[in-house]
């Protein structure tokens, strides 16, 4: 081919020097060039097709803080296996949720995707055939993959036999990291207040008693993103478990115990007590979590109620921040204090993907000990692989120890109606601003619950 070009060019050059150059030789030359280009691109096309034999795996996620680490791992995986992994970030999470939902409706989900939402939402995706059952892969080689995870992290993605969602038992998601949502306190501000920085309050009474002291010193007490109401629900559930125990909470969701029950009124009353004591930061119910994180990182607030992801956020905002994690102070000694925790974020494999086998292989690699340790170090998130725990910093270990007390609505097997949850959260907001009493909110929530139960029955 090269010879062909050289000959043509040589002929043309020679003729170009002479007056003999004519249209025919030009046509021959350009004809040769075009033929050459055609053959060249044909060969190129064939060769590139050979390299494209390895599929490209597309992954959609919303985790802005983990994107750089994911991209690094994708490159590493490509170097190892030749399989290109294309991580696509869509943020904020609200927009991501809508995108995933729209993609599901249009049946064009990527090979791997994360799912934000609750168990019922998760089950809808499974019922619609969007999510692959990965149990066989998890259980291969004597549960090798399955056993590498924290059981509670896996439970979030698992559907047990006889679950109320009507899903065939199995594991439908791979946890990438774990999280716990608990309290943190500023050790430096504790010292300034004359408190022992290694002795955070253990009971609700001790906690509430700090309110006046904090207020008098001009600091803010507890900050949290209670404008995004789900964090209110989270703390309220912690106290519900502490006051009445798991069974009664689940019976309430099933509709067997009313929200007007004395124990639930006690739960609502905790928020009134918090407000009355002055422990809550001013404007907490219009506070978004990012603002709450800024206040805590800037040492304006003594306590924060936040998830383990905050370690990374605080590190970015104030690397010198001295703080420690603590469980929410107990309101009752009858039942243990429980916090929300489990899989922080998980990836699901698209059941309709042509690359599902490759996708599973990639997730197996991604959740392996080394990759998990790298993710934990790079992003300050707790690894889902329990074997990676030995390599994480102390503050992360404190959050990880919270896994012993962790539960999550996604593992309860029953889900509360959205409208009831909404009435519950907005009701607590009303209590905090002093608009409604705990009893009135309990009655309102129960009214919505009755309406939803009746609606469900009518179907």
């Amino acid at each position: 081919m090269l010879n062909f070009y050289i000959t043509s060019f040589y002929n043309l050059s020679l003729r170009g020097k002479s007056p003999m150059i004519n249209g025919r030789s030009m046509r021959v030359f350009f004809g040769n060039v075009l033929l050459g280009i055609f053959v060249f691109f044909s060969v190129l096309g064939c060769s590139s097709q050979r390299t494209e034999a390895k599929p490209t795996i597309n992954v959609w996620h919303w985790m802005t803080d983990r994107d750089a680490a994911f991209q690094d791992l994708a490159k590493k995986y490509e170097n190892l296996t030749g399989v290109k992994v294309n991580f696509e970030l869509y943020a904020p999470s609200e927009a991501y949720s809508q995108k995933i939902r729209a993609a599901a409706q249009g049946i064009n989900l990527p090979d791997i995707f994360g799912l934000l939402g609750e168990k019922l939402d998760f089950s809808s995706f499974i019922k619609a055939g969007h999510i692959l059952d990965i149990t066989p892969y998890m259980e291969a080689d004597n549960n090798k993959w399955k056993d590498s995870f924290f059981p509670k992290a896996l439970a979030v993605n698992e559907f047990a036999p006889g679950n109320s969602y009507g899903i065939k038992p199995g594991i439908f998601g791979v946890p990438i990291d774990i999280m716990t949502i608990q309290m943190v306190y500023n050790k430096k501000l504790f010292t300034q207040l004359g408190l022992d920085p290694n002795q955070p309050p253990k009971t609700l009474r001790e906690f509430l008693n700090l309110g006046a002291k904090i207020k008098a010193s001009g600091m803010q007490g507890l900050v949290s993103g209670w404008g995004e109401v789900w964090m209110i629900e989270c703390l309220a559930n912690d106290y519900a478990f502490n006051i009445m125990g798991k069974d009664k909470v689940l019976d309430t969701i099933k509709g067997e115990v009313p929200y007007t029950d004395a124990d639930w009124v006690k739960v609502f009353n905790i928020f009134k007590q918090m407000n009355d004591s002055g422990i809550l930061a001013q404007g907490i119910i219009s506070m978004i979590n990012k603002s709450a994180e800024q206040l805590f990182a800037n040492e304006k607030a003594v306590f924060a109620f936040n998830g383990s992801w905050c370690v990374n956020v605080y590190k970015g905002m104030n690397p010198g921040l001295e703080y420690a994690a603590m469980l929410p102070p107990q309101a009752s000694s009858e039942h243990p204090m429980v916090i929300w925790g489990g899989a922080g974020s998980s990836f699901m494999v698209n059941a309709r993907s042509r690359n599902k086998e490759e996708a599973v292989k990639f997730l197996t690699w991604l959740t392996d000990e080394d990759q998990q340790a790298y993710l934990a170090q790079a992003t300050n998130n707790l690894p889902a692989n329990k074997r990676s725990l030995s390599k994480i910093p102390e503050i992360l270990a404190q959050f990880a120890r919270g896994m012993d007390f962790a539960t999550h609505p996604n593992v309860w097997g029953v889900s509360e109606y959205s409208l009831v949850t909404e009435a519950f959260n907005l009701g607590i907001q009303s209590i905090i601003i002093g608009e409604k009493t705990p009893e009135a909110v309990a009655a309102e929530v129960q009214k919505v619950k009755d309406r939803e139960l009746a609606r469900k029955k009518a179907q």
């Binding site: 019922l120 809808s124 001013q282 404007g283 959205s418 949850t421 601003i433 309406r451």
Partner: protein
């Protein structure tokens, strides 16, 4: 021959009709259709419930009507405060004042900013703990320390604060449309009125206002449509519904679409209800203006 001409005409119209149908008519019909179902937005199974969603909205959903009330309050403030301000500033800029082009640019900056950015910036300006607390500091500096207030955490003031920020964001559009309208009024009319002995107020009342009625109606309709559908700004400013005090219809629609048991069908029915209310209001405004004119 005539048939050929007719067909030729249709050929020109078909692309526009097709695009309009695909992107407007069909989605509208689908939304209405989905409003008749109980559907979570994901499952293939949809449960037909007839008009039950609409019945629930009209008779049972107190949160929805609370949100409609809140949006109406924001709209009312926008219709009055925002539009009067926009009209006055447009009127001032239409006259021969110094630096009028500078003012035109300045007044048009807020509408071109992103709503979420405006919400966050005003949150920072107003908020006393997380922000710079500028409003309260100004009040104190001007000798009104007794007026200092937690504007964004008091249920009594939060909606008005939201409405005022919404006005700040939106008045530039009204200003621009009013200014364009004012510039179409022939100056000879004012000169003739002046020769007949009319003062500025008389000219304003007898010439400017009557000739501006169609523009005022247009701005009023746009204000109603924009204010009733506001929600991004509220998200940025107060983070959500603040115990229902800043709840607006679009936030309610979003709330129906998410959570542990999303109700897409119900959200569609809410969207249709909001649309119908807006069409009725716009129609009334239009009829009212025609009558007045």
């Amino acid at each position: 021959m005539r048939l050929k001409e007719t067909l030729e005409n249709y050929v020109f119209v078909v692309p526009a009709v097709a695009i309009f149908s695909v992107f407007y008519i069909i989605p509208f019909i689908w939304v209405f259709q989905l409003g008749l179902f109980d559907w979570d937005g994901i499952s293939f199974a949809r449960n037909f419930v007839g008009l039950a969603n609409f019945k629930e909205i009209l008779l049972q959903d107190r949160n929805w009507w609370q949100s409609m009330w809140n949006a109406s309050y924001i709209t009312l403030i926008a219709l009055t405060f925002q539009n009067i301000l926009a009209f006055m500033l447009a009127w001032a800029c239409d006259r021969e004042i110094r630096m009028k082009n500078f003012y035109r640019v300045i007044f048009f900056i807020p509408p071109v900013l992103s709503e979420i950015v405006v919400g966050m910036v005003w949150r920072f300006i107003i908020n006393d703990i997380e922000g710079a607390n500028i409003i309260n500091r100004l009040l104190a500096a001007c000798g009104f320390p007794n007026l200092m207030h937690h504007w964004l955490s008091d249920p009594k003031t939060i909606l008005t604060t939201v409405a005022l920020v919404h006005c700040w964001k939106g008045f530039g559009w009204g200003f621009l449309i009013f200014l364009a309208g004012l510039q179409t009024i022939p100056h000879q009319l004012y000169e003739a009125a002046r020769i007949d002995g009319a003062n500025a107020w008389h000219s304003f009342k007898k010439i400017t206002i009557p000739l501006m009625v169609p523009i005022i109606v247009l701005v009023a309709i746009l204000t109603v449509l924009g204010s009733m559908q506001a929600f991004v700004l509220i998200f940025g400013l107060v983070g959500g519904e603040f115990a229902g005090h800043t709840s607006v219809p679009v936030l309610r629609i979003l709330a129906s679409m998410r959570g542990s048991s999303p109700r897409f069908g119900y959200a569609c029915a809410q969207g249709i209800t909001l649309g119908v209310v807006l069409v009725i209001i716009s129609f009334i405004q239009y009829r009212f203006s025609k009558k007045g004119h």
